[in-house]
């Protein structure tokens, strides 16, 4: 009886594992075979790279990818700088209204910018930033999540280290840079991976603020590319999908352990 249960449980585990990977496996299958094999599975189906070429020609992937990379990096750099400064102030400085400010920061954990698309669109239109990288990135710079995470980490740094640095004559900014930042490296890594995968995959806000391929990221590009009215076939869509997920997927496979641990660490708070 126990033996049977064990076998059942193991088979379930692998079955679910297979289902979870299946869309990706299927996309690879469809992408490297001619389109008549999209639903015919045969070991002898001829291999081809034409779908990738077709997909590449049909949509400005290079531009989309460049846009995604620029937007994701811009957000990450903005977040790291702003959140570090704010987190230090909230963790280590006494000032009037600290509690209220921290409360205001935490509010953003539940009210994320995507929900406020209507007003944020108006704001950016007023700033003339529609269809620009800055328009996509700006609402995410002050990440409550990042501030919170770094604040928790900074609080664990021994104050003696800071005092020693001060006696040596370090200024406030150089204390942050030379004492706090190096000690919070694991937190920075965790936050960066979460931020990169979030913004690489983000869709709704970029859809709202971008109009042309000048600033449109991959996710938005893919939604137009895959639309039935654009009349491309499944093999080409699969190839396009693989092109769009490729860089992130490679990053994930290379840094798998860090990814999993980062998400874990970031989630537990």
């Amino acid at each position: 009886m126990n033996r049977l249960m064990h076998v059942l449980s193991v088979s379930m585990a692998w079955l679910i594992g297979f289902i979870w990977l299946f869309p990706l496996i299927y996309a690879i299958w469809a992408a490297v075979h001619p389109s008549e094999y999209a639903t015919r599975f045969s070991l002898f189906a001829p291999l081809t790279m034409d779908n990738f070429k077709e997909a590449w020609d049909q949509a400005p992937f290079l531009r989309y990818m460049l846009n995604t990379i620029v937007i994701t990096s811009l957000i990450l750099v903005g977040q790291l700088v702003l959140c570090t400064l704010a987190a230090y102030a909230l963790a280590r400085m006494e000032f009037v209204g600290r509690g209220i400010i921290f409360g205001l920061v935490l509010m953003q954990l539940m009210v994320v910018p995507e929900i406020l698309i209507v007003e944020n669109y108006q704001t950016l239109a007023g700033l003339n930033l529609i269809d620009t990288y800055w328009g996509v990135a700006l609402p995410y710079f002050a990440s409550a999540f990042g501030i919170f995470l770094l604040r928790q980490t900074f609080k664990t740094v021994p104050e003696d280290l800071e005092n020693a640095a001060r006696i040596e004559g370090c200024s406030l900014l150089s204390v942050i840079w030379n004492v706090y930042v190096p000690l919070a490296k694991p937190t920075y890594l965790a936050f960066s991976l979460v931020s990169i995968s979030y913004h690489w995959n983000n869709f709704l806000w970029p859809l709202v603020v971008t109009n042309t391929e000048k600033s449109r990221p991959l996710t938005v590009g893919m939604s137009i590319f895959g639309a039935p009215e654009s009349g491309v076939d499944w093999s080409i869509i699969s190839a396009g999908t693989l092109i769009s997920v490729g860089p992130l997927l490679i990053l994930f496979i290379l840094f798998q352990r860090q990814f999993v641990q980062s998400f874990m660490q970031a989630g537990i708070k």
């Binding site: 585990a13 009210v111 995507e114 893919m222 939604s223």
Partner: protein, 288 residues
Amino acid sequence: MQLNRQIQAWLLLLPALCLLVAFTHYPVIKTIARSFFGFGTKWEDNASLENYRFLLEDEVLLQVLSNSFIYAAITVPVSIILAIAMALWVNSKMIGKGILRTAYFTPTVLPMTSVANIWLFFYSPEIGLLNKLLALVGHSGFNWLGDPSLSLYSLMAMTIWKEAGFFMIFYLAALQTIDNNLYHAASIENASKWTVFRRITFPLLMPTTLFVMVNALLNAFKLVDHLFILTKGGPNNASNLLLYYIFENAFSFFDTAYASALTVLLLVILVGLALLQFGVIEKKVHYR
């Protein structure tokens, strides 16, 4: 010196605070104002409850809310059960558990819109893979996304696929903190696997379950990317969800005022969920 320190603190906070206010607090206030003073895309001088009156009479909204409710009521528990099972498997001594962990987690790192394109193909009526499989057993197949009674469930299947592996991570972290002595004690007592799970593992996973539950609930309201690809809320709003409905009102029907009233409703729901998390739940589970 003390005053100096105060000024320094504010200077450090200033950039983050400005952007935070500009893109979170200010739009919240503006949304509330617009829901009372706006009409279509215009501002009126007098406050009116017109948008809210329409909200109460809007039959589409009723449909959307009931969709959101069913959507949350099914995706949240199913994802949680799957996530616990996955975490137990990956945490066991099974051969190839590293591969399984990667398999479970992969959907989390893929962009929703890209993978939705592949799911669109699985679901498509004539050439779609699911119907081809059904044809093998002689079934004529379903119109997964076009049938109003199925489309919402087809969306849910994809949501669960996308989320379960993400939640698994939190359970995995929690499982690794459980004291092994408890399991030793249970094995001395000859407890069955099910008893061990029910009496030791599951209760100790409770804080994680509540954390995951709140996040899954929030996601059920915040995550609508796949709607854009798979159903566009259709057919006839059968799979429409609140945030997508807000998007439609604001950017397809250009009724920003009504979209604002809907946003206020969404904010109330999210704040309610957050209060639930910080109030009731945090108190109950803090035996760590």
